[in-house]
């Protein structure tokens, strides 16, 4: 079992996010913090597939965009009062959409899986742009209202915080559940999972659906943040950015993607403001991470902080 001290870094991050509520910081910073929370959820949901199950999807933006469009478009037509219900509806829609797509994509493995998710994502992106009358095409949709209670930036931040917090706890329980162990097993040795009497496909499908649900939820939350949605939420570079956040933080740790997201969004905010060549920096960072630090920042830190202890822990560790 893990020692309680290993939760300390995560607790401090949690406290930092809570402090934002009480500190007199600018609207922009609160907005930034909200974005970090939303993308943290997206990244952790993505990592259920990638880091745990070993499935690299290049189409996660499909569910993100879908959740955003369902929530955003319906809120626009029915009014901000229904936002919370429509948020859940958006997540469920992403979940339902994931059933046929998961059934199809998961029949394939490795690169083929990645490519099919990629193709589906691009297809939906294209359709979204072409259906100008319905989705607003290239321009997207602006002016999505929020309910009166969530009018201010800070109140929306609190709302997002609660939703993301609950979701992360759910996903964290999933990661340390029997199902989570099976997913890790599928990544490491899928044949053995079969010969232990378990159906790899069904487990992958459930992981795919759960991941889609929370990805859609993140999309819905984002539609409420800026009150606008646009087709690029479906675009493959969106899926790519999430992959980088996850890699940056570390794929083998549940909270790694959260750390990656924080760093990514702060960097994007900072570098993106000073140069138009943000993708170049993004690429360079990703290159360095993949070559030198494949375990991500959390991976480096754990090795650095706990390296010498590990053996001792192992020797007198206590399971059961």
């Amino acid at each position: 079992m893990r020692k309680s001290s290993s939760y300390l870094p995560w607790l401090s991050i949690l406290i930092a996010f809570l402090l934002i509520l009480f500190l007199p910081i600018s609207e922009h910073k609160v907005h930034l913090a909200t974005r970090i929370l939303i993308f943290s959820l997206y990244a952790v949901a993505f990592n259920i597939l990638f880091g745990m199950t070993g499935l690299l999807s290049l189409g996660s933006a499909l569910f993100y965009g879908f959740g955003a469009y369902v929530t955003g478009m319906l809120t626009k037509s029915y009014g901000g009062d229904y936002f919370v219900y429509l948020l859940i509806l958006g997540s469920i829609s992403a979940f339902i959409l994931a059933i046929p797509l998961g059934l199809l994509c998961l029949r394939l493995t490795d690169v083929y899986f990645t490519m099919l998710t990629f193709a589906f994502g691009q297809l939906v992106w294209g359709v979204c742009i072409k259906l100008y009358n319905f989705t607003g095409g290239d321009d997207g949709i602006q002016g999505i209202p929020r309910m009166a209670l969530l009018e201010t930036t800070k109140s929306y931040y609190i709302f997002v915080f609660i939703i993301v917090f609950i979701s992360l706890i759910f996903l964290w329980r999933l990661a340390s559940s029997p199902f989570g162990l099976v997913l890790n097993g599928i990544r490491q040795n899928r044949n053995r999972i079969t010969f232990l009497g378990m159906n790899v496909y069904k487990h992958q499908l459930l992981a795919f659906l759960i991941s889609a649900f929370f990805t859609g939820l993140a999309g819905g939350l984002y539609s409420g943040l800026d009150g606008s949605i646009h087709p690029n939420m479906f675009f493959w570079t969106q899926s790519g950015s999430i992959i980088l956040m996850v890699i940056l933080g570390g794929i083998n740790n549940f909270f790694g993607p959260v750390v990656g997201t924080i760093i990514f969004i702060l960097l994007e905010d900072y570098i993106g403001k000073t140069t138009e060549y943000w993708p170049f920096f993004l690429g360079t960072i990703m290159l360095i991470m993949v070559i030198i630090f494949p375990k991500g920042i959390v991976g480096i830190l754990t090795r650095f902080l706990k390296g010498p202890q590990t053996k001792k822990e192992l020797a007198n560790g206590s399971h059961s």
Partner: protein, 250 residues
Amino acid sequence: MEAILELKDLNKHFDGIYVSKNIDLKIEAGSLTAIIGPNGAGKTSLFNLITGFLEKDSGKIFFKGRDITNKNPEEIASLGIVRAFQVSSIFPYETVYDNLLLASLSHHKKNFNFFSNKYSFKNICEHTNFILKSMNLENKKNLKASELSHGDQKILDIAMALTLSPALLLLDEPTAGMSPEERKNMVLIIRELHKKFKLTTLFIEHDMDIVFGVAEKIRVMVRGEIIAEGTSEEIKNNPLVIESYLGAEV
């Protein structure tokens, strides 16, 4: 004695090369049987056919009198035919304990539970500890599986198979690549398992000393066919076997 596993006229070929040709095989409950044969004789393929990993061209497989010819690998495993692998098939980044826990969770059908902690099931943890103990892996339970020695990885592989409480255990070259010391240990384990749990065991082996020392019954496979069966003595003296297989060695 009653046959627990029965293969009837099983055939499988790749591009005209038979890995199984008219295989008829009966494995009696509680028996300890070895399959020997030169490389490429189709021994591992036979295991793949039994466990549903390869599709059969023709023929039938019965397990406890039930037709399992067209069942999936995972269904066959749940029915109680469990295998360990020639190259040990483990979960390298999980601890030894979690490797066995995973098998145990599968055995107790908890694999879709995504809300409870994986260590929270008392009976499953006890079961896991029991297996750890009986396979002498207790003091290594918190090591990552990839940190184990080659021999221990094979033992872990077999331990995972045992966790499923198999009715029939298939061992594919349990001593391959082991040091003499580890081999001896493995022989002891196989004997012990067979005695203690009355476990029906079918194993593939290259080391003749082990085969002749351990197996109650031996089947000889050459080019996809079973050419002989019998006790150690019968096999040693079978002219056909000597000619086509043992000849070079004996």
